[in-house]
Symmetry: none
Subunit: 413 residues, 2 copies
């Protein structure tokens, strides 16, 4: 079954509000086998709402509407829906009683605006709102279905779980959806697409693939849609496993885990402590590793050595190394790793030094030249990056690459 989402409110258009409702609804509906075909936001305007309803019902037989149900004058969704379904608003005593009871608990009286709020389209089946005053409304006519809810996220979620989703489920003709997520790092989208071209070409018709590129990472999403839930799940998992085996070490997780989470899991499993010695990333790798709850179990700390004197005094990088090879060199990051292991007594250290830009480059070491090293007492891996991005992206990109190399290093222990 397909659904179109229609959200109503000026605040959604001027950039003051980021619409998180739609993503939540998309996930919940996917789980009961409903695909979203479009997601439209319009302002609090009668013509815009009418156009939006026309457009949305052209895309799908189910339309989910949020917003515009409050007591203020700019909330006109209900009138528009009544008009659309050739219906009238009639006073609904049950709704008024609920509001009165709700207010009496806080010693308040409903206002005339609240009374007006109780005029409901007669064709709508009302769904009780346990978190606010405006109920949800369910319309079903001529094979068209519409669910209308307030835009306040907590009220919308409450209504979906306490009636909305089950209404939809009841009219859904039983299509099943199955997603298989493969997360990769350190390999470009185009390169991945070439590697798996043959297997993707062999996908059955019910299975599609999407490439979702991030910074130094690509998420692959395999989506299967079909009536036989077991069949599509089994076939998707078998084909997904083949994709994973082709991409090998570039795959860091199945599902939605982050690199930082995966690193934490490995460190805990192998009982290893971690630390970072950062120059150009300025603490960003440390911030990412400590963003995980419970990271204090394996993460001890970082020395952010932005100035060369801090590299020397806190990380034991030698004057000669800095003089002969420069702060951005394999020799320096190697000494940073060893210095950090000695000072913070960690099992594995990550060190980064580079020229993030926009200034500081030379002909031999242009902006974007980055050296990184990962090491333990027994083993060391170094890597040179030559990036061509701006300062912000150079820092973020380097951080992801460093985390990915750390993951691979930990896997090798």
């Amino acid at each position: 079954m397909n659904a179109a989402i229609l959200t109503i409110g000026d605040e959604l258009l001027n950039g003051q509000t980021i619409d998180t409702n739609a993503a939540w609804m998309g996930q919940e509906l996917n789980l009961i086998g409903v695909s979203i075909t479009s997601k439209l936001s319009v302002g609090d305007d009668e013509q815009a709402i009418r156009d939006g309803l026309d457009y949305s019902f052209k895309q799908a037989s189910l339309v989910i509407v949020t917003g515009g149900l409050g007591p203020t004058k700019d909330d006109i969704t209900k009138q528009c829906l009544a008009q659309y379904f050739d219906d009238e608003l009639t006073f609904h005593q049950g709704s008024y009683d609920r509001i009165e009871a709700y207010f009496s608990r806080t010693n308040r009286q409903p206002t005339e605006a609240h009374r007006q709020q109780c005029y409901m389209p007669s064709k709508a089946e009302l769904i009780e709102n346990q978190r606010g005053t405006a109920p949800g409304m369910w319309f079903a006519e001529d094979g068209k279905f519409l669910l209308s809810m307030p835009g306040v996220p907590s009220e919308m979620k409450g209504l979906m779980k306490n009636g909305g989703l089950s209404k939809i489920d009841a009219v859904n003709t039983q299509q099943n959806i199955y997603h298989y997520i493969i997360q990769t790092a350190g390999m470009g989208e185009t390169y991945i697409a070439e590697q798996i071209e043959e297997i993707v070409a062999s996908f059955p018709e019910f299975l599609s693939i999407a490439y979702l590129p991030g910074l130094a990472s690509v998420k692959l999403r395999l989506t299967a849609i079909g009536s036989d839930a077991v069949l599509i799940k089994n076939e998707t998992e078998a084909l997904g496993a083949k994709v994973v085996s082709i991409l090998g070490d570039a795959v860091y997780a199945l599902g939605n885990s982050t690199l930082e989470e995966v690193i934490g899991q490995i460190a805990k499993e192998k009982d290893l402590t971690l630390g970072t010695a950062e120059s150009c990333t300025g603490g960003n790798i440390s911030r990412l590793l400590t963003s995980i709850p419970g990271s204090s179990a394996y993460y001890k700390g970082s020395i952010v050595a932005y100035a060369n004197e801090v590299k020397k005094e806190e990380l034991n990088v030698s004057e000669e190394t800095l003089k002969n090879h420069g702060a951005v060199s394999e020799e320096t990051v190697t000494e940073m790793v060893n210095g950090l292991i000695e000072r913070l007594k960690v099992d594995v250290a990550v060190a980064v030094s580079g020229i993030a830009g926009p200034s500081g480059g030379t002909p031999e070491k242009p902006v974007g030249t980055i050296w990184l090293a990962i090491g333990s007492k027994d083993r060391l891996v170094t890597k040179k990056l030559q990036l061509v991005k701006n300062r912000d992206l150079n820092i973020k990109y380097t951080s992801v690459i460093a985390l990915n190399e750390l993951r691979r290093f930990l896997n090798g222990i």
Copy 2:
């Protein structure tokens, strides 16, 4: 002028991606006097894109399209646009040369997919993408305007700033707009609104105010729209200056400077070096300070002391202090400041220690208890925060408050 936003990509519909692009574009377009009338997301499907274009051009004369420009097969935006404008795709050598040059810097060769990516609608004016391979496209025909950009946020933002916004500005000639931005930190939105209630009530009709709350900060945007450019500018500046004088020390900048930039300016003017000693913020304050180009002129580094033994050994926090007062205490952050000044030889140090959550709280020190200290050899300021947010927000909020206190401390030197 009105604009309709059309975003393309299956990932926007199934809830895997929260669409932050649209909110950013809404804000930027509002700043140049363009209102968004609708915001539509559709999947990677030809019919859906065509319907979306029809719908969007019914709402506005300018349509802004993002997504579906990558080299993979599911990206079909370009073909749909060519069809919509009755145009053909022709090979664009300049784009191929750019990709080739971009790849040669990293010793790679473009693939056939990249070559296919260089077929462009002949009617489109291309806008160079400095952060990726797919250029922006600008169509202008029969009073209809369309800007197409990749969906990757950094690429979209780069294209808007390096050409897109000015293209739109050039065809939107009706009114003059003047913005006056006041940035504040450490003061709540409601409190600010109360403080400036009287002066805001006296604003002339052409002048409006928007409160844009961020984390521990509020940006005030005064927007004047009128035909007399000089008059609206002069009046807005006079009234803006009055608002600034009422809000006093909470104002850290006029215009779009960040706290980190303002701190950098003060440090350079006063010739002071800075460093941080971080526990619960995990390097985030260091990351923010080093996000500024040229920060190496005043920023020396950080010791991220996540483990208590690192606090003791690298920051000279005494065993007794940790035992008697705990790691999250005024005494510990005071010793962390002193330890950092001694170890990194900085003029001013920031120290933070707290319980970011979700675990680690006690009845006396619940999750969200944070101590911070800012100090030099001669002066020390400490502050306790009691936050009630989640881990991520506790870290980010603490970082902004710490930077704001650092700014106030530096102003007092």
